[in-house]
C-alpha cells in the first residue's frame, strides 16, 4: 500500500475524532425543547390584580410550561390609555420578547400597538382595539356571550324592564357584550335602558344601590365582574335577598360574586374561561416569538346560575383547581 493511498485513509480516520466529540454532546439526543426563557410582559387594563387572579393562574402555568419569564403589570388607574402606552415602550426598552395586553378600547392606543407589534409579538387579552387589524386576540366571543346572557334573562324573566349597568371598563369586550345583550333584548322585544356607573368604587356602590332601590321590579344586568359584585352587594345590603327581587344578571365573576351567586343574590352570570385565556395568551405569545401563527383564539364561556354552579363543567370554570 503506497503512501498516496494511506494518507486519505488516515485523513478519514482523523475525521472520526470530531464526529465522536460532536456525538458526545448531551444536547444532541435530548428532544429539542423550546428555547428561552422568553421575557413576556402582561399589561392589564385595571389597577386591581384581584380581578385578574384566575387569568394570572393560567399565565403562571403557561410560563412554567413554555419557559417564559412573565412580568404582570397592573395600572395605577383603571383604563388608563396613557399608562398603557408608556408601559408598552418601557417594556420594549426593557427587552421584552413579547407583550400580552388587555387593551383599553381607544384609538390612541392603535399607533403605539402597531409600532410595538413591528418589534415584538403583541397578543390582545380578552378584548381588542376596535378597528385595529392584525392584532392577535385571545378572547371568548363577547357578542355571543352577551346574547346568551340576554337569552337566559329573557327565558327566566318575562315582562320586567331591564337596566344595563355600564361600568367604565373601556374595553372592546364590554362593548361587544353590551351589543350582544342589547341585540338579544331587542330581538326578544324587551325594553331596556342603560345606567352609567361612576368610576369611583364608593360612588359606584351608592349609585347602583340608589338605582336598585329606586327601580323595584327591574332586572339589572352588569357587564363586568366588579360592577356585578358592587350591584350584588348593594342588592344584598338593601335586603333584597330573594332572586325575584331586582333580579341581577352579569358578565364575569369574582370570588365574592360566586358566593353571591350561590346565595341567589345574583341570578345568573356569563363567565368566560379566564384560566384558559391567561394560559393561551402566553402560549400564543411564545408561538409568535417562534414564528408560529396561532391566529385569533376563541375560548369558551358558560352561563352559570346557582343550580348548575356545582356541575362539573361550571365547577371547573368557577373554581380553578389551584393548589
Amino acid at each position: 500500500m503506497t503512501r498516496k493511498k494511506i494518507i486519505p485513509f488516515v485523513f478519514i480516520l482523523l475525521l472520526f475524532i470530531p464526529a465522536y466529540i460532536f456525538l458526545n454532546r448531551d444536547d444532541i439526543f435530548t428532544p429539542a425543547k423550546s428555547s428561552g426563557p422568553y421575557e413576556i410582559s402582561v399589561i392589564c387594563r385595571g389597577k386591581s390584580s384581584e380581578s385578574w387572579n384566575t387569568v394570572k393562574l393560567g399565565i403562571d402555568q403557561a410560563a412554567k410550561d413554555f419557559n417564559a419569564d412573565v412580568s404582570f403589570i397592573t395600572l395605577s388607574k383603571n383604563n388608563s390609555v396613557s399608562e398603557q402606552i408608556s408601559l408598552l415602550s418601557r417594556e420594549i426598552k426593557n427587552g421584552a420578547d413579547g407583550i400580552v395586553i388587555a387593551p383599553v378600547n381607544s384609538d390612541e392606543l392603535k399607533k403605539p400597538l402597531e409600532q410595538t407589534a413591528k418589534k415584538v409579538p403583541v397578543i390582545a387579552m380578552q378584548s381588542t382595539v376596535a378597528g385595529m387589524d392584525g392584532l392577535r386576540t385571545v378572547s371568548c366571543d363577547n357578542y355571543r356571550m352577551g346574547r346568551s346572557l340576554a337569552a337566559e334573562l329573557v327565558k327566566k324573566r318575562t315582562g320586567e324592564p331591564v337596566v344595563i349597568l355600564q361600568g367604565s371598563t373601556g374595553s372592546s369586550a364590554a362593548a361587544e357584550s353590551l351589543r350582544g345583550v342589547c341585540d338579544g333584548l331587542k330581538q326578544a322585544g324587551r325594553a331596556f335602558s342603560t345606567f352609567d356607573m361612576p368610576n369611583d368604587g364608593a360612588a359606584s356602590y351608592q349609585a347602583v344601590r340608589q338605582e336598585i332601590s329606586k327601580k323595584a321590579g327591574t332586572v339589572f344586568v352588569a357587564l363586568d365582574g366588579e360592577t356585578l359584585e358592587t350591584a350584588a352587594r348593594a342588592k344584598k345590603d338593601l335586603g333584597k335577598l330573594s332572586e325575584s327581587e331586582s333580579p341581577l344578571y352579569g358578565i364575569g365573576i369574582t370570588n365574592t360574586g360566586v358566593s353571591l351567586l350561590e346565595e341567589k343574590i345574583i341570578s345568573a352570570v356569563a363567565v368566560d374561561n379566564e384560566y384558559n385565556i391567561g394560559y393561551l395568551c402566553i402560549k400564543s405569545a411564545v408561538d409568535s416569538i417562534n414564528h408560529q401563527d396561532d391566529g385569533n383564539i376563541d375560548v369558551d364561556f358558560l352561563i352559570v346560575n346557582h343550580s348548575n354552579m356545582y356541575d362539573t363543567e361550571s365547577e371547573h370554570m368557577l373554581f380553578p383547581f389551584v393548589r
Partner: protein
C-alpha cells in the same frame, strides 16, 4: 432450484473472476466484516432497547408500588379518622343527651393538616355536628350530594369521592376548597333509639398531591390517579385538563389491568404502569413517554453505528493493506510472466517476494525460465547443427573432384566419340544437380532420393566403366514416404570408393527401400572388402566424428546427425559389415508420408 442455485453461484464466480485478486480479497473481507459489524450492532441495539424498556418498566413498577404504599397509608389514616369518629364518638354518644361537637373538634384539631372538614348528618340531610365551620349554606342540599347518596346506598362501605369543591358550609372569606370526601353510613343513637345518618370526612386534596408530586419518572414522565370509573383524582396538570387545554387517556386507563402496558395517545407512544389502590378501587397510573426512553436508545444506536462505522473503516483499511500485501507480489509476478511472454528471459527481472507460497512460485518460475533459456539455446545450437549439416550436404554437390572427374569422363567420351555415353552422363549429371538443388527442400520423397542416387550411380558406373552393377529396389508404399535429401548418395559413394574401386567387374551395389511396421528402412549393400564390425561401429562413434571419406567428403556421422536432428535419437544410421563380405549401411527412418509431413509442417 438446485440448478438455479448452481447457476447463480457460477455467475457469481464469473463475476468475481473479472476483478483483480486484491480487489476481490479486499471487497470480500470488507463485506464479511461489515456484515458482521452490522449484525453485532443490530443485535446490541435490540438488546439495549429491550433492556431499556425492561429497566423503565421495573423502575416505574417500583415507583408505583411505593406511591401505592404511601397512598394506602394516607387513605387508611383517613379511614382511621372516620373509624375513630364513628366507633369512639358517635357510637358512644346518645345525641339526645350529649353533644359530639367537642370530641369531633378534638379529632379535627388533631388532624387539621389532613382535613378540611368533618360533619355528621341525619338520613334526611340535617346537620348534627360539623367542624371547623358549622353553618350550612342555605342552598346546601346535603341529600343530593354524591357522597351522601353513595353512603346511603351502600351502607357497609366507606366511600371516596372524586375531587370536588366543598360547598356545604358558609365561609365568611368566600374561600373554596377542593376536597375528596370520605363518607360512610352511621348509626346514630338518640334517646336510646337508633337512627341512620352519614359521617363525612372531607380530606384536604393537598395530602394526595404531596404523595404524588415528588415522584421522579424522568423528564417527561408523570403519575396520575383515577377513580374506578376513570375520573381523574389527581393529575400534575389537573387544571389544564379541567380547562380542556390538554387531555388524558384516563378513560382507557380505567380498563387496564395492573401491570405495564403500551398505549398510543395523541400521537405519542407511552409506557403505562398501572396499580390498583386497595379498597378504593383507584388506580395509580405512571406514564413514561417511550420517546424519552428511545432518546437514550437513539443515543446508544447512533454510538453503536458510529463504532460499527469506525470498525468497518479500520477493517477496510486492514483488508486493503493485507490484500495489497498478498496481491502485489502476485501482480508483480504476473507482470514478470507477461515480460517472459514478450520474450524477456532475464530471470533476474522475475519478481521474487511476498508470502512463502508466492516467493516459492517466483523462484520456480525463475528456475523454469532458466531451463527454458537453456532449452532455447539448445534449439539454437541444434538448428545451427542442422544448417551446418545441410551446408555440408550441399557442399557434397559441388565436390570439385566429383565434378572434375565427371566432366573429365564426359570430355574423354566425346573425344572417343562415345557420344551416347557422354549424353547419358551429361543427362544424369544435370538431373543429379536438379534433384540435389531442387527447391532447397531438405525433406524429399524416397522416390526422389532414389532417383537422385540412380543418376549418381549411372554417372559413376560410366566413369568406372561398369566395374560394378547396381540395383535399386523399393516397395511401392515406401516411395511416397519422406526422407532427408542426400543421405543415400553419400552411402553409395562410400560403397563405390571403399567397396568397388578394388574390384574388377563383379562389384555390386544394392539399394533397397522397405517398410517394417511404422519404420522405413533404406539399405545400401555392397559386396566389397568390408571390415570388422568393430571398425564399422567406430565409423559412427564420436571418436570418428570428424572422419571423412576420401570419396565424397561427407562423413557417415553427418548422415547419422542429420537423421537424428530431423526424426529423433531413435532413428539413424547403422552399419553391418564383415571383412571380405561387404557392408550394409542401413538408414532407419519413421514411415511418414511426405504429404502428411508437409501438411504437419504447415
Amino acid at each position: 432450484m438446485h440448478e438455479r442455485l448452481q447457476n447463480l453461484l457460477k455467475k457469481n464466480r464469473n463475476f468475481l473472476n473479472r476483478w483483480s485478486l486484491q480487489f476481490t480479497i479486499a471487497i470480500s473481507f470488507t463485506i464479511v466484516s461489515i456484515a458482521g459489524m452490522a449484525a453485532i450492532a443490530l443485535f446490541l441495539s435490540m438488546r439495549y432497547n429491550a433492556s431499556s424498556m425492561q429497566l423503565v418498566t421495573e423502575s416505574n413498577t417500583r415507583i408505583v408500588d411505593q406511591v401505592n404504599l404511601n397512598l394506602d397509608t394516607y387513605l387508611r389514616n383517613m379511614m382511621r379518622i372516620s373509624d375513630s369518629m364513628y366507633y369512639r364518638v358517635i357510637k358512644n354518644t346518645d345525641l339526645k343527651t350529649e353533644s359530639i361537637t367537642e370530641p369531633m373538634s378534638l379529632l379535627y384539631e388533631t388532624n387539621r393538616d389532613l382535613l378540611i372538614s368533618l360533619g355528621v348528618f341525619t338520613s334526611n340531610g340535617k346537620e348534627i355536628a360539623a367542624e371547623p365551620l358549622a353553618q350550612l349554606k342555605k342552598s346546601a342540599n346535603v341529600t343530593d350530594q354524591d357522597w351522601f347518596i353513595s353512603a346511603s346506598a351502600k351502607t357497609e362501605n366507606l366511600h371516596f369521592s372524586t375531587p370536588h369543591v366543598e360547598n356545604l358550609y358558609v365561609d365568611p372569606d368566600n374561600k373554596y376548597h377542593w376536597v375528596i370526601s370520605l363518607s360512610r353510613y352511621v348509626e346514630l343513637t338518640s334517646a336510646g333509639s337508633i337512627t341512620h345518618g352519614v359521617l363525612l370526612v372531607d380530606m384536604n386534596f393537598v395530602g394526595i398531591e404531596q404523595i404524588c408530586k415528588n415522584v421522579d419518572l424522568g423528564k417527561s414522565g408523570f403519575l396520575y390517579i383515577i377513580g374506578a370509573d376513570g375520573a381523574i383524582i389527581y393529575h400534575p396538570r389537573q387544571e389544564l385538563i379541567y380547562s380542556n387545554l390538554i387531555r388524558e387517556n384516563n378513560k382507557a386507563a380505567a380498563d387496564y389491568e395492573d401491570g405495564t402496558h403500551t398505549e398510543q395517545f395523541e400521537g405519542q407512544q407511552r409506557l403505562v404502569t398501572v396499580k390498583t389502590v386497595g379498597y378504593t378501587g383507584w388506580k395509580i397510573v405512571a406514564v413514561a413517554p417511550t420517546e424519552e426512553i428511545v432518546a437514550s436508545y437513539a443515543q446508544f444506536r447512533v454510538f453503536a453505528l458510529f463504532f460499527a462505522c469506525l470498525a468497518s473503516f479500520l477493517m477496510i483499511f486492514i483488508n486493503t493493506v493485507i490484500s495489497s500485501r498478498l496481491a502485489n507480489p502476485i501482480s508483480a509476478l504476473e507482470n514478470s510472466v507477461k515480460n517472459i511472454e514478450k520474450g524477456d528471459l532475464d530471470e533476474t527481472k522475475i519478481s521474487v517476494g511476498g508470502s512463502y507460497e508466492v516467493t516459492h512460485l517466483g523462484q520456480t518460475i525463475r528456475s523454469m525460465v532458466c531451463q527454458m533459456r537453456k532449452l532455447m539455446d539448445d534449439v539454437v545450437l541444434e538448428q545451427e547443427a542442422k544448417r551446418k549439416s545441410e551446408l555440408d550436404a550441399l557442399q557434397s554437390q559441388i565436390n570439385p573432384h566429383f565434378l572434375y572427374n565427371t566432366l573429365d569422363s564426359i570430355v574423354w567420351m566425346i573425344e572417343n566419340e562415345h557420344y551416347q555415353g557422354a549424353v547419358t552422363m551429361v543427362t544424369s549429371l544435370a538431373r543429379l544437380f536438379r534433384i540435389s538443388l531442387g527447391k532447397g527442400k531438405n525433406i524429399v520423397t524416397v522416390a526422389d532420393e532414389l532417383e537422385h542416387v540412380r543418376h549418381y550411380l549411372t554417372i559413376q558406373n560410366l566413369r568406372y566403366k561398369n566395374k560394378f552393377r547396381f540395383s535399386i529396389e523399393a516397395q511401392p508404399e515406401t516411395l511416397g514416404c519422406a526422407t532427408i535429401k542426400l543421405i543415400v548418395q553419400p552411402l553409395v559413394e562410400n560403397a563405390i570408393y571403399h567397396g568397388m574401386e578394388s574390384m574388377d567387374s563383379d562389384g555390386e551395389i544394392k539399394i533397397r527401400a522397405y517398410r517394417s511396421g511404422a519404420d522405413l528402412y533404406i539399405d545400401v549393400t555392397d559386396n566389397g572388402l568390408g571390415m570388422l564390425q568393430e571398425q564399422a561401429d567406430l565409423l559412427l562413434s564420436d571418436k570418428r566424428a570428424s572422419v571423412r571419406s576420401k570419396g565424397s567428403g561427407i562423413g557417415l556421422k553427418n548422415i547419422q546427425e542429420r537423421i537424428q536432428l530431423y526424426f529423433g535419437k531413435e532413428y539413424g544410421l547403422s552399419l553391418y559389415s564383415e571383412p571380405d563380405e561387404g557392408m550394409t549401411a542401413r538408414i532407419h527412418l519413421p514411415a511418414v508420408l511426405w504429404n502428411e509431413r508437409k501438411a504437419g509442417e504447415k
